[in-house]
């Protein structure tokens, strides 16, 4: 529902708007690098590319980088010194991210926040403003609507822009977002603009195909599924990490030391439950010895364990895993087959 306090940003003023942001923020936005559309730092408004589709990498990249230093150390002659870098102070803005990516941040917030918070993530998150761009033209791999989100969802965003053609409707979706709007003068969005926005949103939503996700699936997954079915579903899976690395909610990581004689760093790097070593124990025993078990873990973790343990599915329906999987393994088809699988 687009609220009454929505504003308008005329397209001819977008460049100026971005220039203002760049004055005192680090701005990450979609930009083209070769053939890829990537969410990355921009230096000028002209770097920004606003077009159909998602960035290859998801917004998690800005808050949970693939490689993050935990601390540096020096260890020599029996003495050890640890050095944790002080948190950066620069404020950052994620501009033009999709509502699915913004929603993904909500799951990452519950994982990395809480009592035993991860200071690296929490600190960045506090300094980040999320300005999403609603999807006017969802693609065939998108299924955000089936996960409780939607092409114009405001979950996880501070501000959401929706393209009306000649201008954007700007809506605040959080306290931070409202404060941001108040600091800057925007025109009010009139009833006509809101009506157009509502129509665009309806069209976008109805262009999407539903996926078999919901209570029925969760209930089915509480019961065991035949091992042979998992084997069939996972048969073409290559066991690489593409789905997990590009996913906006996947967050598994490894901690390792990179050493050079007396000095080194302890770093946190992305890891994937799809890799065989993920659960391999020192004795050589592996509770998930083959692709089938690892495939099952991914599906169950996202659609059964996380909903049970954290009340949130581990998926926002962005569809990157469907589109980027080298063998086009479609999680929606997998869930459909699982929903229909006979109870054991």
């Amino acid at each position: 529902m687009i609220r009454e306090n929505a504003r308008i940003l005329r397209k001819e003023r977008l460049e100026r708007f971005l220039e203002d942001l760049l004055q005192d923020h680090l701005v990450l936005a979609p930009r083209r690098k070769g053939e890829l559309l990537l969410l990355d730092r921009i230096e000028s408004p002209r770097d920004v590319v606003l077009e159909d589709g998602k960035t290859k990498n998801s917004a998690k990249y800005a808050l949970f980088p693939q490689r993050e230093r935990i601390f540096a150390y020096r260890a020599e002659e029996g003495k050890v010194e640890l050095h944790v870098s002080p948190p950066a102070e620069e404020k950052q803005i994620l501009f033009g991210v999709r509502p699915c990516d913004a929603r993904g941040l909500l799951l990452l917030d519950t994982v990395f926040g809480g009592d035993c918070g991860d200071p690296y993530y929490v600190d960045k998150r506090a300094r980040t403003l999320v300005v999403s761009m609603a999807c006017v033209n969802p693609g065939p791999s998108c299924f955000c609507l089936s996960l409780g989100g939607g092409p114009c969802s405001t979950d996880g965003s501070d501000l959401v822009l929706l393209d009306l053609g000649d201008c954007y409707v700007v809506e605040a979706a959080s306290v931070k977002g409202r404060a941001f709007l108040q600091d800057r003068s925007f025109e009010d969005a009139g009833a006509e603009a809101l009506a157009r926005a509502g129509k665009i949103r309806k069209e976008a939503e109805s262009s999407m195909n539903p996926a078999a996700i919901g209570e029925a699936l969760e209930k089915r997954l509480e019961q065991p599924v035949d091992d042979l079915l998992w084997g069939d579903l996972a048969e073409s899976c290559l066991g690489c990490g593409v789905c997990t690395y590009l996913c906006p909610t996947c967050h598994c990581f490894d901690i390792c030391d990179e050493a050079a004689a007396a000095t080194g760093e302890r770093i946190r790097i992305w890891d994937s439950c799809q890799f065989p070593l993920f659960t391999q124990e020192a004795s050589g025993f592996n509770p998930r010895p083959s692709g089938k078990e690892r495939f099952r873990q991914r599906i169950m973790h996202k659609f059964s364990y996380l909903p049970r343990g954290r009340n949130m599915a581990g998926c926002v329906g962005c569809g990157r895993c469907v589109a980027e999987c080298p063998v086009n393994l479609d999680v929606r088809e997998v869930l459909e087959k699982l929903s229909q699988a006979e109870a054991q």
Binding site: I70, C116, P119, D254, R266, T279, P287, Y305, R308
Partner: protein, 275 residues
């Protein structure tokens, strides 16, 4: 905010070779900074991630008891990169310790109950911590009968000989030691731990059983406890899984909807049945 990824620095005060094949050593550690001692208040059953800077971290159960807060003890079996590096270290070297992690044994729930502690091989570490905690003069009265059943393949592979000897002299616990293979001079039981549990036959009334050991031992001990009348809520197990962050974030130890490092490693059998 507290940074849960940064370890305390600790110095190795003593290294005790526990087993005759030298694969298991106990490291006695002291805090490099006095004030860190206060921040490491732990319960038996918890664990910590030990760092060898340059090699990495690995999780180890607390083998020491919190009633002796001056030193922390961890028993390390030499298997991989970090444990191999630890075994090569000497008195005076510095390691990192991150913790305490995990849920530990629920001491409040144990009060007034009879306790049956069953351990096998290397898994006995945290049970040693728990036993010493309970035996402490401040604590002993709060708990009922204490039965400890501990087995290893051979006498030379039993850990904590000094503790075992001291416990053997006491009257406020019943200690049953067993080995798989008999050797000259061995005075205790001979037989696998599950069989010894069956013959000792601890009573289930008002009792809680805590089991910690290799998977095979746990697998065969559980039905014995069931036969003896222990219900699933009163059987506790300490699970081991490949762990990394220790705080329920990195996903490695995820089993069903739980994380072994933060929801466990101690689980009741009834919880595990549902996972």
């Amino acid at each position: 905010m507290e940074n849960p990824y940064v370890p305390f620095l600790m110095k190795i005060e003593e290294i005790i070779t526990e087993t005759e094949d030298e694969t298991i050593k106990t490291f006695v550690l002291a805090f490099a900074r006095e004030e860190d001692k206060e921040r490491f208040a732990y319960l038996p059953g918890q664990f910590a991630e030990i760092s060898v800077f340059g090699k990495g971290e690995a999780p180890f159960g607390m083998a020491s008891t919190p009633t002796l807060p001056e030193r922390l003890e961890f028993s390390v079996s030499k298997i991989g990169v970090v444990t191999g590096a630890l075994h090569n270290m000497e008195k005076g070297d510095t390691v990192g310790v991150r913790g305490p992690l995990g849920n530990g044994y629920c001491l409040e729930a144990f009060k007034g109950r009879n306790l049956v502690l069953i351990g096998g091989g290397f898994g006995f570490s945290t049970l040693r911590s728990l036993t010493n905690y309970i035996l402490h003069e401040r604590n002993r009265k709060a708990y009922g009968d204490l039965t400890v059943i501990y087995g290893a393949r051979k006498p030379g592979l039993l850990l904590y000989r000094r503790d075992l000897d001291a416990w053997g002299q006491r009257t406020d616990l019943r200690l049953h030691l067993t080995v798989d293979q008999e050797e000259d001079g061995w005075q205790g039981h001979v037989g696998l731990v599950p069989n010894v549990v069956r013959s000792v036959a601890p009573g289930p009334e008002n009792a809680i059983a805590v089991v910690c050991g290799p998977p095979a031992m746990m697998k065969f001990t559980l039905p014995v406890l069931g036969d003896l009348g222990f219900s699933d809520e009163n059987i506790l197990l300490s699970l081991e899984k490949r762990m990394k962050c220790g705080i329920g974030k990195c996903g490695r130890c995820n089993v069903g909807s739980k994380y072994v490092c933060s929801d466990g490693p101690v689980f009741s059998q009834s919880e595990l049945v549902h996972l």
